[in-house]
């Protein structure tokens, strides 16, 4: 009964725009070691202001991507661009107009345990992991 991405994400966009929150199971390895494909779930809400470090769901080139925001470049006219990078990616980034960001992660169910992004464990990870980018290739192998 798995709902395909092209069905789920337009619906996710609608629900987030209505002010509701949405939970789904992640697919793909690009957010390792934080999220494991088909095991872990994320809960998202719409956000008024996107910040560096947020985990954002964005539509990029017809694909839906859930990655960490590494930069926000506002254009001063209410628009701008977000640059994203998966925690599990070595160097690849994506960018999209801010308007293409559908929402941000507010809670994670990891290996069956739910935690908020205010938890000490997550805050430590979110601070250290981007700093450790030069070691990422090695660390990913370690945590695989």
């Amino acid at each position: 009964m798995e709902v395909p991405n092209e069905v789920m994400f337009p619906e996710v966009r609608r629900l987030l725009a209505e002010g509701r929150t949405v939970t789904f199971c992640v697919r793909g390895d690009s957010m390792r070691p934080l999220l494991r494909s088909r095991r872990d779930k994320v809960t998202l809400a719409a956000c008024a202001t996107l910040r560096r470090g947020d985990l954002a769901l964005a539509e990029i080139g017809g694909m839906y991507v859930l990655h960490r925001v590494v930069a926000v470049r506002e254009d001063g006219r209410g628009g701008g661009e977000a640059v994203l990078m998966g925690d599990g990616n070595i160097g690849a980034t994506e960018s999209c107009p801010l308007a293409h960001v559908m929402g941000i992660v507010v809670a994670i169910d990891r290996a069956g345990r739910r935690f908020s992004l205010d938890s000490r464990w997550y805050r430590l990870y979110a601070r250290l992991w981007p700093e450790a980018k030069p070691l990422r290739r090695f660390l990913l192998r370690l945590f695989a």
Binding site: M1, E2, V3, P4, E6, V7, M8, P10, E11, V12, L15, R20, T21, V22, T23, F24, C25, K41, T43
Partner: protein, 89 residues
């Protein structure tokens, strides 16, 4: 039995999915996707009471299948719906 109220059957990208309405959070890992005949039956039964026999009659009338096939399909579907928690007795 009847359909549990509060669900909205939405057709998105050619697929029918049953989205809970009126709740704060929608969990897509528990969302129900329906094939075209299930979705048709779900719409067709409306808010009224129905049994496996009711569903089977509808299938026979609409899809021109024999009653044995229809009864099997209806029984299986009803089990699925009940297991999915989208029916009330």
């Amino acid at each position: 039995m009847r359909k549990k109220p509060g669900f909205e059957l939405r057709c998105v990208g050619g697929e029918d999915i049953l989205v809970p309405g009126g709740v704060e959070n929608v969990d897509f890992s528990r969302i129900i996707a329906m094939n075209s005949s299930s979705a048709w039956l779900w719409r067709e039964v409306g808010d009224g009471d129905f049994t496996a026999a009711t569903l089977a009659q509808m299938l026979v009338a609409h899809y021109e299948i024999d009653s044995v096939t229809a009864e099997d399909a209806a029984a299986e579907l009803l089990t699925q719906w009940r297991d999915a928690g989208i029916l009330v007795p």
